[in-house]
């Protein structure tokens, strides 16, 4: 099976001189297509930094990232932006939906960014909403949805582009246990049906245990 993501000797420093901190130390690993992986570690261990690097939102101090077999260091800002749109889906801890747009508009957003007309996107967006049980909430604005509903919309948004890899930063961190569980189940289900790879940052050891694989980060080192 091909690697969706390959990370090689990744280092990331913040600051300069005496105050310089070494956040990631020679991190190397790879994710296979359809792999459902948890990234665990205490706060300050470098999880978010690693996720930002993989999400092409930040650049490593040294090392290399291959996303869908493309070498990242050689890409321009423009190309990275495009790759982010095509290969990745993001689910944040706080849903981060755009409050000025309805649920279905939020879902279509990543593809509208590509310049695809809304009427071509609507059927798929609607069916994805149905899949997470929100078919009747399409025209609602984010503030009119509950926390769990918001997070489900955010997940659907991440899936809209059929990305090879979905990066989820504490996707259940802000939800009660029951809702968190249903969201996790949903992610797992999507993973199994569509073969989308997931990298999920979580504190929750229970959830982590239900993943295919756990990557444990401690003080910037992958154990």
């Amino acid at each position: 099976m091909t690697d969706v993501l390959k990370v090689e000797k990744l280092n990331r420093y913040y600051g300069e001189g005496d105050t310089q901190t070494h956040v990631l130390k020679d991190v190397s690993f790879s994710l296979k297509k359809g792999e459902f992986t948890a990234l665990v570690g205490q706060s300050g261990s470098g999880k978010s930094t690693l996720l930002n690097l993989i999400g092409l939102l930040e650049q490593p101090s040294s090392g290399e990232i291959y996303l869908t077999e493309q070498k990242i260091s050689t890409l321009s800002e423009q190309q990275r932006t495009q790759l982010r749109n095509h290969a990745l889906g993001f689910v944040f801890q706080f849903h981060h939906l755009l409050s000025a747009f309805t649920a279905i508009e939020n879902i279509m957003m990543p593809l509208k960014i590509r310049g695809i007309a809304e009427n071509k996107l609507r059927p798929r967006a609607q069916s994805l909403l149905a899949k997470v049980g929100l078919e009747n909430y399409a025209e609602r604005y984010p503030t009119q949805l509950s926390g769990g509903q918001q997070q489900r919309v955010a997940i659907v948004r991440a899936l809209m582009t059929q990305p090879a890899l979905v990066l989820a930063d504490e996707p259940t961190g802000n939800l009660d246990t029951q809702t968190a569980d249903s969201i996790f189940t949903l992610l797992r289900q999507i993973n199994q049906e569509d073969g989308t790879a997931f990298l999920i940052v979580t504190h929750d050891t229970n959830l982590a245990a239900r993943c295919d694989r756990q990557l444990i980060l401690k003080d910037g080192v992958l154990l």
Partner: protein
């Protein structure tokens, strides 16, 4: 692609409704002031110029001044030079010149003129007058004499004259009466008054006596010659340039209304300059208003920008979103402002009336003014949005998401 940015921009504006409306009214106020003040000043100037030029040709052509030609050319320096007296000099070969001038594309009307001084005598009374020999058809295109006729008609056959109201009063003349005109060289002519005009300028109403070209030529001993040509130009403020060109080209003396009304021109110019200054500063404050509101909007929308960037929105698109917001604010505000300015103008027209209830002057509320103001304000919005838009585009998505 722009459609998407447009949608995001309008949604952002609609989401911050209060903010959008506030700044739009701020812009509207500024634009209303610009529209109103421009219309006011243009209207005022138009009225002043119209009144001034109601009794003046745009350009007056006369024969060139006589100059002193020194008979010695060996470098002698003269201590005292006595200027020559300028006698009335006819324009050479005027029928040809007239034809050539009629073909000038910058000119609207051309009218030959014979002028000189004389006395008007009736009974015991005599008054100094200016004789103006004209061709009524050509002349009314220069000065709207017919509109200002108080009695009789503008008819100038031989031995007929049209005079001003004040002269008529002074000499006790009504239409159909006769009077004598005597020149300094003792030629005289008995004329019948066919019309009485009132231009509203005391001096002219007292002095001007219109005769036919031929009568005036005979009276002033000009023998088929003329002393001047009155011109009307197509573009009022080009009169000076045109007059200089005519002067050089035809070897005649040409004086434009601009140089014969120097004080008026200075007043108009400083008025225009102060208006421009006011417009400029109002526009600047509008620009600052838009810029500051958008700067705040960028901070408010930091998180949204970060998410959009994470989803693959390019920096260019983010830039476009905020530029569109600036442009839209400028356009929306200025359209509102144009309406406001027009309303102000209408109100002003209602209150600023003379004793007779007529408006003091027309406001120049042209569609051209409104269109140009709107376009300028929209462009100002775009320019004002440039800095905030650039900052938004350069925002680090990680920071934006984390701290937004």
């Amino acid at each position: 692609m722009v459609w998407f940015e447009w949608q995001v921009a309008t949604r952002f504006l609609r989401e911050g409704k209060t903010q959008t409306l506030l700044i739009a009214s701020g812009i509207a106020l500024g634009v209303a002031v610009i529209v109103f003040i421009s219309a006011l000043v243009t209207g005022l100037q138009g009225t002043i110029i119209k009144r001034t030029l109601g009794t003046q040709a745009h350009i007056v052509i006369t024969a060139p001044d006589k100059v002193l030609l020194p008979s010695v050319t060996d470098g002698t320096i003269f201590r005292n030079i006595q200027p020559r007296p300028q006698i009335i000099e006819p324009i050479l070969n005027w029928p040809l010149l007239l034809k050539q001038l009629q073909l000038e594309p910058t000119l609207k009307a051309v009218s030959p003129l014979v002028s000189g001084a004389a006395f008007a005598i009736r009974g015991q009374a005599d008054k100094t007058v200016s004789i103006l020999g004209i061709d009524p058809v050509a002349y009314t295109k220069i000065i709207p004499l017919e509109e200002n006729l108080k009695a009789g008609q503008l008819r100038l056959n031989n031995d007929e004259a049209v005079i001003g109201r004040r002269l008529a009063d002074d000499l006790g003349i009504r239409v159909g009466d006769r009077m004598n005109i005597v020149t300094s060289s003792n030629r005289s002519l008995a004329v019948r008054i066919t019309g009485i005009f009132e231009l509203g300028v005391k001096d002219l109403d007292k002095r001007w006596v219109f005769l036919s070209l031929r009568s005036a030529q005979n009276l002033l001993d000009l023998n088929g010659q003329i002393t001047g040509i009155d011109l009307q130009v197509k573009s009022l403020f080009d009169a000076e340039i045109i007059s200089q060109r005519l002067q050089n080209h035809y070897g005649i003396k040409a004086e434009s209304w601009m140089s014969s009304n120097e004080q008026l021109m200075t007043a108009l110019k400083s008025q225009t300059a102060s208006t421009t200054l006011i417009r400029f500063f109002v526009l600047i404050s509008v620009a600052f208003g838009i810029a500051s509101v958008l700067a705040i909007a960028v901070v408010q929308k930091q998180k949204e920008i970060g998410i959009l960037r994470a989803m693959g929105m390019s920096q260019h698109s983010v830039l476009a979103v905020f530029l569109i917001q600036g442009g839209l604010l400028g356009m929306f505000g200025s359209l509102l402002g144009a309406l406001g300015g027009m309303g102000l103008g209408k109100m002003f027209g209602f209150f600023a009336r003379n004793a007779a209830g007529e408006p003091l002057f027309e406001l120049a509320l042209t569609s051209e003014l409104i269109l140009s103001t709107t376009i300028i304000a929209t462009l100002t919005g775009l320019i004002a949005a440039a800095m905030p838009a650039y900052r938004a585009a350069k925002l680090d998505p990680v920071q934006a998401i984390r701290y937004g």
